[in-house]
């Protein structure tokens, strides 16, 4: 199957630290590809390179068959790359519905840009769908800043998904969530693959093994292994560098 997203030889360093050092991988459409690795392995930086937040020193991406050298994040979003953040990055003064509408209005044709918001029906409908899908309907008119941590993390995903990206990148979406919230969020993410290709960073190894179609293991900026969960788990190098620590 032709991949939806490929990273080819991406690299960046920050003052001598090779945060990401020549990483290549592919994410198949409608699958969950998960990037794992210890803290500081370069996972978030890899996401920053793919989403245009950081300019790579080397490498490029291929999205849906088209090659793109570095582009601004807004252009990449228009091309179909949506992302969430490890540290919740919402419009905290705005309500839940306003956050979602802001993200969803990208769906509106350009000619609706100067038409009153209440008439942008496409965005309005999308907001309604997302409120249901992410169990936030009861909180629609609350300020995002007043939500619980778990609700904020859910809204973070919903905002990234609102304008129907081709690729949805989620950076530790369950971070700081309770056990039951984590399980619920995992179910939610699994359900998303009907319509979107998911690229995930996740720490909860049980969850990763459970929901991933493919796993990319990173260590000190490099890719250590790449394959289906069972294969990656059995890889001796991964055992040593990653699961080894986890078990001891």
């Amino acid at each position: 199957m032709k991949p939806m997203l490929e990273a080819r030889n991406l690299a960046v360093s920050f003052g001598g630290i090779h945060a990401v050092d020549g990483v290549t991988f592919a994410a198949a459409p409608n699958q969950i590809t998960t990037v794992i690795g210890p803290n500081g392995a370069g996972k978030s930086t890899l996401f920053n390179l793919i989403s245009g937040a950081v300019r790579p020193h080397r490498g490029h991406i291929v999205l849906d068959g088209k090659r793109h050298e570095h582009m601004r994040p807004d252009r990449l979003r228009e091309l179909g790359i949506g992302r969430s953040f490890q540290i919740t990055n919402l419009f905290f003064e705005l309500t839940v519905a306003e956050n979602l509408r802001l993200a969803a209005q990208l769906l509106e044709p350009r000619k609706h840009w100067l038409v009153p918001v209440r008439r942008s029906t496409l965005a309005g409908q999308r907001v309604g769908e997302l409120l249901e899908e992410f169990h936030l309907a009861g909180k629609a008119d609350e300020r995002a800043g007043d939500l619980s941590h778990g609700e904020q993390r859910r809204l973070e995903i919903a905002v990234a998904l609102a304008a129907r990206p081709k690729v949805l990148m989620l950076d530790e979406p369950t971070q700081g969530m309770s056990h039951s919230d984590t399980a619920e969020t995992a179910r939610l993410i699994r359900a998303l693959t009907d319509s979107v290709t998911v690229l995930l960073i996740e720490h909860d190894i049980g969850l990763v093994m459970d929901i991933s179609d493919r796993i990319v293991v990173m260590h000190q900026g490099r890719k250590l292994a790449d394959g289906p969960p069972a294969e990656v788990r059995a890889d001796p190098a991964v055992q040593a560098a990653y699961f080894g620590h986890a078990r001891s």
Partner: protein, 329 residues
């Protein structure tokens, strides 16, 4: 179903409608007493309220502090004065101001929109300083004296015309003109475009990842604000018959910002209320005592301490709550 931002805008419209009622009652009283002084003062207050409106679109809705917004107010006033001296036509003057402000606003915007926070504020301040000092030193523009002898004007409407020398008629005309500018700002701020501006204020870092260009949105906001300021300024020489470099000075920008803070940052209607109150206070207190700045300073401090969101920042949320209850079935 309206969300909270759209409800706020509706609340703002109601408060502006109230302001119009107050203005009309005032006009009636002034007309029946044959007053000229207060009518012309109120007209001036409305003109400066247009500048405050422009400040609030940047400060209250885009999160940018324009320390030098008087640059565009003064620009509009000078261009209007220059046109009127050559060809005394209101519509020509307004047309030329509008088009030239597009060019100047775009130029200033390309410079200023690269920056944000305190850097934007300083660039805005610097641009106004440079331009006002240049104008101050150009003899063809009247240097420190400014341009005088702008002729009295008949604003043609086909069926009738309004003389800028008729205090009541010109007051009502200015009221309608500033209302149009308010309507323009309020309309645009309640569109998807306006929501992107509001997003810039709330959390600029996330905006690019939603697919919107931060630079583009900031630039558009800057040009919009420049137009509102310049079009307001265009009325100034029609009222006063002259323009001077002081119109671009920091005192004018600063007053507009104080007016916005008094009225309530990000309330739009508040910019009109705050700025009008400030102009009236300055002038009326000024006739009692030459220490009027002390009085105004004290009022400002009291408002900031007791009504930190400004006059309308206090009133509007209550109005919103009523509107929101009426909206729920």
């Amino acid at each position: 179903m309206l969300d909270r931002l759209s409800l706020s805008m509706r609340a703002s419209h109601i408060l502006v409608a109230l302001l119009v009622v107050i203005a009309l009652v005032f006009a009636l009283v002034a007309w029946s007493t044959g007053d000229r002084f207060y009518l012309r003062l109120a007209t001036e207050a409305l003109i400066f309220a247009g500048l405050a409106l422009s400040v609030d679109t940047l400060l209250g809705y885009t999160g940018l502090l324009p320390l030098g917004q008087a640059l565009f107010f003064g620009f509009g006033a000078y261009v209007s004065a220059l046109v009127l001296r050559e060809a005394p036509s209101f519509w020509t003057a307004i047309g030329v101001v509008f088009l030239s402000t597009l060019v100047v606003g775009l130029t200033g915007g390309v410079i200023a929109s690269r920056a944000r926070g305190v850097y934007f504020a300083l660039i805005s301040f610097g641009l106004a300083q440079v331009v006002s000092k240049v104008v101050f030193n150009i003899r063809e523009l009247g240097a420190s004296d400014g341009l005088r002898g702008i002729p009295v004007l008949d604003i043609e409407f086909g069926l009738f015309s309004i003389s800028t020398n008729a205090p009541l008629a010109f007051f009502l005309f200015t009221l309608a003109f500033i209302l149009l500018l308010y309507a323009l700002a309020a309309y645009l701020l309640d569109t998807p475009f306006g929501r992107v501006l509001i997003a810039l204020k709330a959390n600029e870092k996330r905006v690019p990842f939603l697919g919107y260009s931060v630079f583009g949105a900031r630039l558009a906001a800057y040009i919009l604000a420049a137009e509102i300021a310049a079009l307001s300024g265009a009325l100034y020489p029609m009222l006063r018959g002259f323009v001077s470099p002081e119109l671009m000075f920091f005192a004018v920008s600063g007053n507009a910002i104080i007016g916005v803070i008094l009225g309530g940052v990000g309330t739009l209607a508040g910019a009109l209320y705050g700025s009008i109150l400030l102009t009236l206070m300055r002038s009326i207190v000024g006739t009692w005592t030459e220490h009027h700045l002390i009085v105004i300073g004290l009022v400002f401090i009291i408002v900031v301490i007791f009504l930190p969101r400004g006059l309308l920042g206090f009133v509007r949320p209550r109005l919103e709550a009523v509107l929101s209850r009426r909206q729920k079935p």
